[in-house]
């Protein structure tokens, strides 16, 4: 009993003396908190779970990538993988597909968002909602749909053979990188449109009216007024799409094309089809490095843009 009394007396004596030292608070951290548990302790449980479920496995992948099947630690798996034709092809294919898709998405998304926002038409709201719904569907549905339209026994080829009597239709691009490109542009364009529509809704339409009353035509207004405002949203949306394209798997898997191999596809085939885990891990590490690097860039860009 006397112990607790002493303790509280000490606490009382110490409390005011301790206050002057706590000066350097930013405005955000100014509220006084009880001393019982520091706030970082509350962050520990979720971080621990994440570490166990995600960070530790990720570390194992890196470890596995420098551990060849024969044992020991070496960079041989890297040398082997970098030397292989398949990997180099996959790397080039992945990068150009991602860049191409991103450019396509940016152009298409900008044009479509421009019309929805600034040339309003009845049903425009419904289109915007449709875009939102579109985002909640998995990517491979697009490839599935394209199979019906342009597949070897699909609509387009069927129409061609019916009309011309030829044994085979002319559309075979679906199993080439062009098919993947088309599918990726289709699927990822809404990811550019959404931030753009949000940015456009912030734009004061008075600016457009003033610009047009000063004699600026639509093209000049888009270049001088709208584009500068949309630039942050375009940059943020574009870099997000670039990362997602680099990581895309479902679209490529569904085309069933043997000659389109991207990095995620290579990880899958090395690990599941060939059971070559060290090689799979090497490809995975390369893929992580590219994606995480770009994603970091995206975060910086979007923070600058205030998104």
């Amino acid at each position: 009993m006397s112990v607790s009394a002493t303790a509280s007396a000490v606490a009382r004596a110490e409390a005011p003396a301790a206050t002057p030292s706590r000066t350097a608070h930013g405005p955000g951290s100014a509220p006084a908190r009880p001393r019982s548990v520091p706030s970082w302790v509350w962050a520990l449980p979720p971080v621990a779970v994440l570490a166990l479920a995600f960070l530790y496995p990720l570390a194992l992948v890196v470890q596995q990538s420098v551990t060849p099947d024969e044992g020991g630690v070496s960079l041989d798996p890297y040398a082997d993988v970098f030397a292989s034709e398949v990997f180099r092809d996959a790397l080039t294919t992945t990068v150009w597909l991602a860049v191409g898709s991103t450019v396509g998405c940016l152009v298409l998304g900008f044009v479509l968002a421009l019309v929805i926002a600034f040339v309003p038409f009845p049903g425009g709201k419904a289109v915007a909602r449709f875009v939102d719904v579109f985002l909640s569907f998995p990517s491979f549905l697009i490839t599935l749909a394209l199979l019906f339209v342009y597949g070897s026994v699909g609509m387009a080829n069927g129409l061609w053979t019916d009309v011309t009597g030829a044994a085979e239709g002319p559309f075979h691009f679906l199993t080439t990188p062009w098919g993947v490109l088309l599918a990726e542009i289709t699927y990822f364009t809404p990811f550019v449109m959404r931030p753009l529509l949000a940015a456009f809704s912030q734009l004061d339409t008075g600016q457009l009216e003033v610009a047009s009353s000063l004699g600026a035509g639509p093209v000049r207004i888009i270049r001088r007024v709208i584009l500068p405002e949309a630039l942050p949203a375009l940059a943020a949306g574009g870099s997000l799409v670039l990362v997602m394209c680099l990581n895309e798997f479902g679209i490529v898997l569904f085309t069933g094309a043997k000659d389109v191999t991207t990095l995620p596809m290579l990880v899958y085939s090395k690990a599941i089809l060939e059971s070559d885990y060290p090689a799979a891990c090497v490809v995975a590490v390369v893929n992580i490095a590219i994606s995480v690097g770009l994603y970091g860039l995206y975060r910086v860009v979007s923070r600058r843009a205030g998104a």
């Binding site: 962050a43 449980p45 992948v61 298409l108 909640s136 998995p138 289709t186 990362v243 569904f254």
Partner: protein, 265 residues
């Protein structure tokens, strides 16, 4: 606003429709039509049938649907708890701690899903924790993947929350725990439900990591769709895809109803 002449407007809209309809509306319609067709190798599908749907909602397919639902619901609940907790804890931290937590919990978005699958496979295929071959490895991977999105939406909502409410509550004598339970969480409820919807939709359509991990007795719907198309049964695949989309939309609609009821302003 931008185009003033009538002709100009119609021309713009025509271009819009020419781009929008074939790219976005047609694919979904094609899948819907194909799911009802017996054959389609011309301009139009032939022979309407609902046969595929009776197949798609029974046996293996029904099993796949329930597998997907159980996985998505479990992963969403886990992700919401984990991501929500982390987002709330991050909000109480100083700048550097907040940045660190942001980086950690958003990392799964940047890492390719296939690699997440591979990592989980590598880590949990050996003792002490042997999850490979069980449904839990799929659920674990889905949870990791959607936690990042739960974290992002909850922390955005926490940032928008007016600190006046917490301060008013503390001023009235509420302890931090009471402020959390009686004020912050109820005010965050709309955002939490929409985050749940997002997680659910993502998990329902997840294919990349699942392909790396699924055991034979735990085949989610996307894997089933792939299996169908891979063996050439495109029409069955289409019917399954329609089932997947419909289920996702129904759940999202239900969630948005809850959200409307939970929002007070």
């Amino acid at each position: 606003m931008l185009v003033h002449s009538r002709a100009g407007k119609w021309a713009t809209w025509a271009v819009f429709l020419l781009l929008f309809v074939p790219l976005f509306a047609v694919p979904l319609l094609v899948i819907l039509a194909a799911s009802l067709a017996t054959n389609w190798s011309g301009a139009f599908p032939s022979g309407p049938t609902v046969e595929r749907y009776s197949a798609a909602t029974s046996g293996d397919s029904l099993q796949a649907l329930t597998t997907s639902l159980v996985t998505a619901v479990t992963a969403s609940v886990l992700a919401l708890t984990l991501g929500g907790w982390a987002a709330l804890a991050a909000a109480a931290l100083r700048r550097r701690g907040k940045r660190l937590l942001d980086a950690l919990f958003i990392l799964p978005v940047a890492v390719p899903s296939v690699v997440v699958g591979l990592a989980v496979l590598v880590a949990y295929s050996k003792p002490p924790v042997l999850l490979n071959g069980t449904r839990w490895i799929v659920i674990l991977a889905h949870t990791v993947l959607v936690t990042a999105f739960a974290y992002q939406s909850v922390s955005a909502a926490v940032r928008r929350l007016d600190p006046m409410y917490e301060q008013a509550a503390a001023g009235l004598g509420a302890s931090p725990a009471r402020v959390l339970w009686r004020v912050r969480l109820p005010l965050l409820l709309p955002s939490l439900t929409s985050a749940a919807g997002l997680c659910f939709a993502l998990s329902m359509g997840e294919l990349s990591a699942t392909m790396m991990l699924y055991p034979p007795d735990w085949t989610p719907l996307p894997v089933q769709i792939f299996a169908a198309t891979d063996r050439g049964s495109l029409f069955t695949g289409a019917a399954l895809a329609v089932v997947l989309m419909t289920t996702t939309l129904l759940v999202l609609a239900a969630v948005s109803r809850i959200r409307t009821r939970a929002s007070y302003r």
